[in-house]
């Protein structure tokens, strides 16, 4: 697994397109949000910025890059090549996705740390960490499932749009309006509960009971995404 991960990391550093779309773009977007935080003070504060930031990096950095990586490696039969070795399927996927996951996690950590320094610090760091990890797990699951429907890296520009736009829109909606109204709908939408958890963790409004309520829908989305991934993921191109 680790040789695959090392190889993928090298590819990420070599591939300018991946660097720009997967890592630079979300970082710049997040930096813009942090820089313009005063504008958002009235609608959601730092918690809102944190939620949108996590989803921006999660969707653009982790999810999109995961789909592009898997589609690309399948298209040029590299997945089949890896399956010709002694490495297990789980080891192959872990090796391929570990570098982008690690980079995204570092990105989010750095951006949230900057936000904490320039604005308020988060009230419940462990809860924020749980929200971040839940978002990342959901994005990885959705990435695996979407990769099953994606024939090529070019095709990924279309197939990833619904999840990218959808999850960021949900995070923005939940972050700006809260979950006081339409609570069930907002919590059940993909990413809605995790976004709310991030906002509450930052502001300190979250109670222990809320955590379970807000993690459950996210875990359900993760389970659904992984179920879809098992059914949809292909190791070889369509013939």
């Amino acid at each position: 697994m680790s040789p695959i991960a090392r190889g993928e990391l090298t590819q990420i550093l070599r591939n300018r397109l991946v660097l720009v779309t997967g890592f630079l773009l979300p970082s710049v977007s997040a930096a813009f949000l942090i820089h313009q935080r005063e504008l958002f003070a009235g609608i959601g504060g730092a918690g809102y910025i944190a939620a949108v930031l996590v989803f921006t990096v999660g969707a653009l950095g982790l999810y999109s890059s995961a789909v592009v990586t898997l589609a690309s490696r399948r298209q040029n039969l590299f997945l089949k090549r890896l399956r010709s070795t002694a490495t297990s399927d789980a080891g192959i996927l872990t090796g391929l996705l570990l570098p982008i996951t690690a980079v995204s996690l570092i990105q989010i950590s750095v951006l949230l740390a900057v936000l904490a320094v320039v604005a308020d610090a988060p009230a419940h760091l462990p809860l924020l960490a749980a929200a971040v990890l839940a978002v990342m797990a959901m994005m990885l699951g959705l990435g695996l499932a979407t990769a099953g429907l994606t024939d090529s890296p070019e095709h990924a520009q279309i197939t990833t749009l619904p999840v990218v736009l959808g999850t960021i829109a949900v995070a923005v909606w939940v972050g700006t309006t809260g979950t006081g109204e339409l609570t069930a709908l907002k919590l059940l939408l993909p990413g809605g509960a995790a976004a709310d958890l991030a906002v509450r963790a930052w502001s300190g409004e979250a109670a222990a009971a809320d955590v379970l309520v807000r993690l459950a829908p996210t875990l359900a989305w993760i389970a659904l995404a992984l179920t879809l991934a098992v059914r949809l993921f292909r190791w070889e191109p369509r013939r």
Partner: protein, 294 residues
């Protein structure tokens, strides 16, 4: 020496989308053998190989490699090297990085430098895969399969796209591996390669194994041919010579030296000179054509 076959395919059936690609395929490959699995396009050999390589599930039947399922990667892969029909490399990786990565994942011990030397790609070690020619990619593919000298190598059309010299070099490498006791399972469209090198050959057609044996066994069932013309007004040659569709004479024989000698002796006696004389033993191509009816 163990009598367990290295590869044991037993009543294998492969089907997809309602199409029966392989039907009741059975064959065994013994240790140290070079077994060539040949067939027309669509004969089912790629589907069979995919099951043997562990990339596809069988509809029924079994495949055992060293007595284990080919899907048991941890147990089987360190002992087998697979040269896929299509390369499957990351274009931006260098040749050395590719061999090092696939080699390490194979579970065998070796160095990229040694293997690249074996296939003559040492000078290309730092070159990105995207910049290699088709033939160089095939050699890289072979290098990843040969990494650590596995006990079994699956070579799926190894010489496709190689020029004559590269082809000779690759076969020389295969010969050296065989001297080390490596078992080879080969598919190829170049029948002369199989004829020259295979210990045994399996001929597939429409999903089934139609014939199997050594080259001698396979060709023994078909007669050799002698073809020739005669100048105008020449006397007719004695039977079994008969006219073929092109106005030439054809002798089908199971005793080529004797019948060729008889023909030439008759020609000398009759004072005629056979023109465009062609005579040769039965080739694998002839067996192949008799199988496919083309």
């Amino acid at each position: 020496m163990s009598t367990t076959p290295v590869l044991d395919v037993d009543r294998l059936n492969v089907a997809y989308d309602g199409f029966h690609a392989v039907q009741n395929l059975s064959f065994q490959v013994r240790r140290g053998e070079l077994y060539a699995l040949l067939g027309t396009n669509g004969a089912g050999k790629t589907s069979a190989l995919e099951v043997i390589e562990g990339h596809r599930k069988a509809a029924s039947g079994t495949v055992r490699i060293f007595g284990r399922s080919p899907r048991d990667r941890r147990a089987v892969r360190p002992r087998m090297g697979i040269m896929l029909q299509e390369s499957g490399f990351v274009p931006d990786m260098t040749v050395q990085e590719t061999v090092r990565l696939i080699g390490r994942l194979s579970g065998r011990a070796d160095t990229a430098e040694r293997v690249l030397g074996v296939v003559g790609l040492t000078r290309k070690a730092g070159t990105r895969v995207s910049q290699l020619s088709g033939g160089e990619k095939r050699r890289l593919d072979f290098a990843t399969a040969a990494y650590g000298t596995p006990e079994l190598m699956i070579l799926d059309e190894p010489t496709t796209g190689l020029d004559v010299r590269s082809r000779d070099d690759l076969w020389a490498t295969v010969d050296r591996l065989r001297e080390d006791g490596v078992t080879i399972v080969l598919t190829t469209h170049y029948l002369e390669e199989a004829q020259e090198r295979a210990d045994r050959i399996g001929l597939m057609h429409r999903g089934s194994l139609h014939r199997e044996g050594t080259v001698a066994e396979l060709t023994r069932a078909l007669p050799a041919e002698i073809r020739f013309r005669l100048p105008a007004l020449s006397p007719a040659p004695p039977p079994p010579a008969a006219r073929d569709g092109d106005g030439r004479f054809l002798i089908e024989t199971f005793d080529l030296p004797q019948d060729l000698y008889s023909l030439l002796r008759w020609a000398r006696t009759a004072g005629v000179e056979p023109l465009d004389l062609e005579a040769g033993p039965t080739r694998l191509d002839d067996v192949f054509r008799s199988l496919t009816g083309r």
